[in-house]
């Protein structure tokens, strides 16, 4: 399995509290990896971006 791959089991777990999962989808500068690189669906990418921004606000990642 590739490091950046988002499985259907992971899709349900996308949440700002699950920082271990979210760290796979940001680069070393903390930026969100774009959809064209990750090959995620639009719904998954929107959910990811929202969760990452919420985790950033709480200073978790």
């Amino acid at each position: 399995m590739k490091k950046n791959e988002l499985t259907p089991a992971d899709f349900i777990k996308i949440d700002y509290k699950n920082t271990h999962l979210l760290k796979r989808f940001i680069n070393e500068n903390g930026k969100i990896i774009p959809q064209r690189v990750l090959n995620t669906s639009r719904i998954a990418q929107t959910k990811l971006a929202r969760a990452i921004k919420q985790a950033r606000f709480l200073s978790l990642i």
Partner: protein, 109 residues
């Protein structure tokens, strides 16, 4: 119609035991005044923050999940905004079950 909400609060790390108890009691009193019961509560402990929040590099995380109408989160927002012991907070709607364990509790930062 009631929905499930959750809130994460970052409390100042240098508070004494009594001050933390007072803060949690005041939050619980606020819940009971509005006749909302705290469904599930977690203490994530003191964590290192990834960036400083008002000159604090550590924060004590409290998490609670509750079921209420749509007007209560707005009241809670105002209550936490003017609380001086609370550094930052996030109130959000969730689809998770009310007593689901969060992944933060069994992981060291």
């Amino acid at each position: 119609m009631s929905k499930v909400y959750e809130t994460t609060i970052i409390v100042k790390p240098d508070l004494g035991n009594d001050q933390v108890k007072d803060l949690l009691n005041s939050i619980n009193n606020f819940f009971s005044e509005n006749s909302v019961s705290v469904g599930y509560q977690e203490d994530w402990g003191i964590k290192n923050l990834k960036f400083n929040i008002s000159k604090y590099s550590k924060g004590s995380f409290k998490f609670m999940r509750f079921e209420s109408g749509s007007d209560f989160p707005k009241k809670l927002d105002i209550f936490l905004k003017y609380n001086t012991d609370c550094l930052r907070y996030l109130i959000s709607k969730t689809v998770q079950k009310i007593d689901e364990v969060t992944p933060q509790i069994n992981k060291d930062n």
